[in-house]
Symmetry: C2
């Protein structure tokens, strides 16, 4: 969004949080710092008078750039950074959000701006606790559901799969279980006939907790940071001996085991769930080549009919989500498998990696952006500095132009964190996007 109502909002940029990602300790510092800084994307959603909480101090030049593109003045939005916590300023942890000094600062900002509701990236318990301390629970749609276990119901792979199965939606063959025997039997039966398997930890954000079990070397590895080749039943048993405790988060969580559909294109979508209905925001496609760390809205390779089939299935999943009392954005992922088959793969009742892109589309292009433009992103474009990048885009004529409603936007600045920025190309068609991408790669040849 922006939330669909007109109330002033406390936005909290907590995409990387200790609740969704249980083992932030295990992350290398540089990766945690870079991931944590995607917090800053949240500022794109701010409206005049809103307050944005981000993990790390932003480069003032990037903030000016962002506000100018949004048509706002430098004082229209308040940006707050809480005091450092257990990971310094890498991510918005509970100790930072509930730090008495920060709560007091937030309270003053909330009063000064007349803030009535909270909109975090992810509605984890620290956000609920902060909202209660600031008196924002009444103004926040769906607060009661979200502040309980509602957030988790919409962010676990087990609940997703159980509900989707109940609705008869397209899924890969699979099981949801707490019982090792049931998980192992299912995996063994597929591996025995040469089919790869994907094991999904219940509670990890995105693909972070996924592992592919392959019956032979050479299976393509998409959607999982780990892959193990298990040849024969003994290898499967040994593997579950060693990893079942990890899969189940030491017995805490379910495990989902599914057939892994090789050579599929990952699809995404975003829906807005409100009192009076569900609105489809957009579908999208993960980029596979030549760039891997990016997204295309509505897509670059997926046939329109396939994307439509996926979006219709995803929309049906929003019905129980709305009935349960969730209010806000939900992103639903799936796969376009070979042969035109479509399956759903998970849901996440929170903001997503395309929420700010949707803001670009609706606000910088217009209500028909999905048919008039293609949005293509890359998360890691190596650049020397933010100001040099802006100048280079302007000199080359590639910078986003509000009149033609096309060009390149710097969506997030990570120069100090990792010598890179995120870009979003807003092009008239696929070919234009790919041409621009080639030209971008030539601006700072490395």
């Amino acid at each position: 969004m922006s939330p669909t109502n007109a109330r002033r909002t406390l936005l909290i940029g907590n995409p990387f949080n200790e609740y969704l990602i249980g083992d932030l300790d295990a992350f290398p510092h540089a990766k945690r710092r870079l991931g944590g800084n995607s917090s800053l994307r949240m500022a794109w959603l701010a409206r005049p008078g809103d307050v944005v909480v981000v993990a790390q101090p932003a480069d003032p030049a990037f903030l000016r750039y962002l506000l100018r593109l949004k048509g706002l003045g430098p004082d229209d939005v308040t940006v707050l950074v809480p005091p450092p916590g257990r990971f310094g300023t890498d991510v918005l942890t509970r100790d930072r959000l509930l730090h008495p000094e920060f709560v007091e600062r937030a309270r003053r900002a909330v009063e000064a701006r007349g803030i009535e509701q909270v909109l975090p990236f992810s509605f984890e318990p620290a956000v609920a606790a902060l909202a209660l301390r600031l008196g924002l629970e009444k103004g926040t749609p769906g607060f009661g559901f979200l502040a309980g276990s509602g957030h988790d119901l919409l962010n676990t792979k087990s609940a997703f799969r159980s509900i989707a199965e109940g609705l008869g939606l397209p899924l890969p063959a699979g099981v949801v279980t707490r019982v090792r025997e049931d998980a192992e039997d299912f995996a063994s039966s597929l591996l025995a006939v040469g089919k790869p398997v994907i094991v999904k930890q219940d509670f990890h954000a995105g693909a972070h907790g996924n592992e592919i079990l392959a019956p032979r070397p050479g299976v393509s590895q998409v959607g999982a940071p780990l892959m193990s080749v298990l040849e024969g039943p003994d290898a499967v048993r040994d593997h579950f001996d060693r990893h079942w405790e990890r899969y189940t988060n030491r017995g805490r969580d379910y495990t989902v085991v599914e057939e892994y559909l090789e050579d599929s294109v990952p699809l995404g979508s975003e829906f807005a769930v409100a009192d009076d209905g569900v609105v489809e925001q957009h579908g999208c496609e993960m980029r596979m080549a030549p760039v891997f760390d990016g997204i295309a809205i509505p897509g670059l390779t997926t046939p329109e009919a396939v994307l439509r089939e996926f979006l219709d299935a995803a929309a049906r999943l929003c019905e129980p989500v709305r009935a349960m009392g969730y209010r806000g954005l939900i992103n639903i992922d799936g796969l376009a498998a070979p042969g035109g088959r479509v399956v759903l793969s998970e849901y996440n009742g929170r903001l997503g990696g395309t929420t700010h892109l949707h803001w670009f589309g609706e606000n910088l292009v217009g209500p028909d952006y999905l048919t008039e433009r293609v949005l293509v992103t890359r998360n890691k474009w190596r650049v020397p500095s933010f100001p040099e990048t802006v100048r280079a885009l302007e000199r080359s004529g590639l910078a986003f132009d509000p009149v033609t409603r096309a060009g390149v936007i710097i969506a997030c600045d990570h120069v100090r964190q990792g010598g890179a920025v995120e870009y979003c190309l807003i092009a008239r068609d696929r070919d234009e996007a790919l041409r621009w991408e080639t030209r971008l790669s030539e601006l700072f040849p490395g």
Copy 2:
């Protein structure tokens, strides 16, 4: 029910199972054996051609009694008892339901009887695994949802409270949390102003995992086997130091902490959730005095308007349950608090302690049983033997009479397990029920 479709059914009497009740080991043998034998109530739901799986061999005299009241012959229903497992024949554990010898026996019975679906008391993973082995998954409504984590979604107190909050249904003040600080802060704030608190473990059946925290001695203890008096903040902190690990099932589960509404009458209800809608089966009331271990349908003391308000709130909770894909019975509990206030307290997506009573009402009284009769039960009536009990009921004229559609039914036989039977009085009104109860107590004095 009986399930609402006409398919032949494998009924599984697993009210006491190792999945819903995590610590069956901790139960005294006699209690586990008695609880496990309530399995036998399931036989009341059987229709001609059905197969019933029970934990313990039934007294043939009781089975004949049951079938005669149902109007069935001795061969109309097949009763199976799996081989003993880790708790002998006390309860239907996974090792028993999936014992290869039993699976084979069940397979033959399923084929011989043309069974198409499974209806367990509780759809826990061992039941799902058995249904898959017997090929009953296709014929069983809602199987995909139930075989995943769906069963758990509808049997946890956290999901209940989050969804009910989202719908704005009446609840006691409370929190659902994994964070000790949030639980303790909430409890402290209520205790500090003299209000008692109830802590609910997420996953335990019924009140088994509940504990009342009282700010002073003398709080009445209903709905929780444990009560602790905590006078002052230090006592609260000490208590959470000692018990937080247990409350959260060693970090696995949520904890629900609520204001404890003293002097409330516990209410119950049962709804049937189907593809085409939700049907209210009945409301009921837990008996408080003079008998504690019983139920009254529709009630003995609760005003009709209060019960109606409760049932209407409970019905609204069934909407998301149906949207999620659950099919079957759900029982929803609540409280009639002093001053006419009604709150909901939990849901359980499974059969309940009133399912067989509803069968009595619909089948032995008729479709208007809720207005024509009151059903009053007691779970532990000490008797010398089952045959003597039947004879005594007949001699005294108290035995259920199909013509007058009134009298006493022996609902379950626990004579060998604990020297007692369960009775259900089907009376024309409250006074008649209480008169009969007095006469029953005089049949076997001492």
